[in-house]
């Protein structure tokens, strides 16, 4: 009961803030709504038992990426909004149609997979996960089975850092 109330409240907040991010005129408002959206998603992660992911979400997304966005929005401080293009109405219609087609596709997949029995899923659900904390489990996986992807991700971040510095320099 309590879980249902929490889930529906959080879902309403997530979708509401998502709509505001997409529709708000002022870009700074968009960034603020994005922070609220990320925090609600972090609470969804806590509900799902992924505490480490929730902390990462707050630290990296709400703390890091969004601040980066805010810096760029402040740096480019536009006088006239770019959304004043003449044929904006037509493009919006095409965008909504495309999104509706994709939504229909995803719901078809959902309905199709809901109709089939999930015996393998039920069998896999028998083994317990939370004998130790969530962070320990994720850390063990990251540093044993997924060590090479982890190193590749760190290399990707290094390359992205150097690339961002090079791109943002006045002249190379």
């Amino acid at each position: 009961m309590f879980e249902s109330i929490l889930f529906y409240t959080l879902a309403a907040f997530i979708l509401g803030f998502g709509v505001l991010v997409v529709t708000a005129r002022n870009t700074v408002h968009c960034v603020v709504f994005l922070v609220a959206n990320f925090l609600c998603v972090a609470m969804i992660y806590v509900m799902l038992g992924a505490e480490f992911l929730a902390i990462i979400q707050v630290l990296v997304y709400a703390g890091g990426i969004v601040v980066l966005y805010l810096f760029v929005v402040m740096l480019v401080n536009l006088k006239r909004g770019p959304d004043a293009a003449p044929d904006r109405r037509r493009q919006s219609r095409v965008g909504f149609v495309l999104a509706a087609v994709m939504l229909a596709e995803i719901s078809a997949i959902l309905v199709y997979s809901a109709a089939r029995p999930a015996s393998a899923v039920a069998a896999a659900a028998a083994t317990p996960l939370q004998t130790v904390g969530n962070t320990e489990v994720v850390g063990m996986l990251l540093y044993t089975d997924y060590l090479i992807p982890f190193e590749v991700a760190s290399m990707l971040l290094l390359v992205a850092m150097i690339g961002a510095i090079l791109l943002a320099k006045k002249e190379i």
Binding site: L48, A50, I106
Partner: protein
């Protein structure tokens, strides 16, 4: 009230993903398009976490962490490109970003 199943999370994630798609398709400000992409990546992460909980397997959370890392790299590079472009053309409208168009 029915208990919350993974399907609830899947529907939430699909709706959030759709919001991101609508944002990418309808907005012309490239910063807002980037934010819509972040919304879509978040929807994917909700999916991964929901399946991780249902299957009692933490691998989904590991992949969600990789998604977050890639999103951070993408944001840094993308915003660097936006800044470099803005210095040259004084605009953020993607309709005017056509100097690479053939």
């Amino acid at each position: 009230m029915t208990p919350i199943t993974p399907y609830h999370y899947l529907v939430l994630s699909a709706a959030l993903f759709m919001l991101g798609v609508i944002g990418v398709m309808t907005r012309r400000n490239i910063i807002i398009i980037f934010m819509s992409i972040e919304l879509m990546l978040n929807a994917v992460n909700i999916n991964l976490a929901a399946f991780s909980q249902q299957l009692h397997n933490a691998v989904g959370q590991v992949f969600a962490i990789f998604v977050v890392a890639v999103a951070a790299a993408e944001a840094a590079i993308g915003l660097g490109i936006i800044l470099a472009f803005y210095r040259n053309k004084e605009t953020l409208n993607i309709d005017e970003m056509n100097i690479l168009r053939w």
